[in-house]
């Protein structure tokens, strides 16, 4: 099989968050990193006296975690201030979605559906580096759903 020419980097990724799944806040201009974890299928196993190999069975899948790192800013209506109010609200409801190859028709979009803010990081840093401050938001979702981003016009 020939080597693929379709490999992607994450440089064109677009990401949005929402508190209601209807009105979205674009994080494209702030977000710098998305990390996905979880979703592993549990397995169970047991050994029996008569054999060296275990009996292995499939369990159910675990929830998924999404961590978005973004640039900390103090402007009114910026993502830090906006998402901090969401984290303070009862239940910490959030929706998130991202397009690894960019928000362009035909590309894949991964969506959390209604999810929970599990971690909201306030700014921290050290004096010397000069690096822009990044904050993290952790999100737990039942699953990330993959869709094709469909145009309407």
């Amino acid at each position: 099989m020939p080597r693929t020419t379709e490999g992607l980097s994450f440089v064109a990724c677009d990401v949005e968050v929402s508190q209601d799944g209807v009105t979205w806040v674009e994080l494209d201009d702030y977000g710098s990193n998305i990390a996905v974890s979880g979703g592993d299928r549990r397995t169970g196993e047991v050994n029996v006296f008569s054999d060296e190999r275990p009996i292995v069975k499939a369990g159910k899948k675990a929830s998924q975690d999404l961590v978005i790192r973004y640039a900390y800013t103090e402007e009114v209506g910026g993502p830090f201030a906006t998402m901090r109010t969401w984290d303070d609200a009862e239940g910490g409801v959030i929706y998130a979605r991202y397009w690894p190859a960019g928000r362009v028709a035909g590309n894949f979009v991964f969506e959390t559906g209604q999810a929970i803010i599990t971690k909201f990081q306030d700014p921290g840093g050290e004096a010397g580096s000069g690096d822009p401050v990044l904050c993290e938001i952790g999100i737990k979702t039942e699953e990330l759903q993959k869709s094709i981003w469909g145009p309407t016009s």
Binding site: S147, W149, T152, S153
Partner: protein, 110 residues
Amino acid sequence: MIYKALDRIRFEDGRVLDRGKTSRLAGIRLRAIQFLIDRGALHEVQTPPLEILPGWERRAKVLKERAGITFAAELITANLEEVAEKTRISMRALRAAREDVLQYVEYDEE
């Protein structure tokens, strides 16, 4: 026309068409539909001509002659008020006819 999703599609306007579901995709422009067909995300569902459906010979002829409707999908997705005006068939009869046709066609959206 009726279209079937070959992958889950999230439209820009927020609508979702789950994999395997069919829809007439009202409000989605043909150019966008063609794009998704070319992308392998959709395909057009082939529906039978009305004239081959049991008990439909006469009705199919009227619909074809007066409203240009030949295939089941065209009747299912048609504006029935316009069809009623062109064919002088009552809305009640057209709704019943559409219900009858839906027995023969895979269609998830009313």
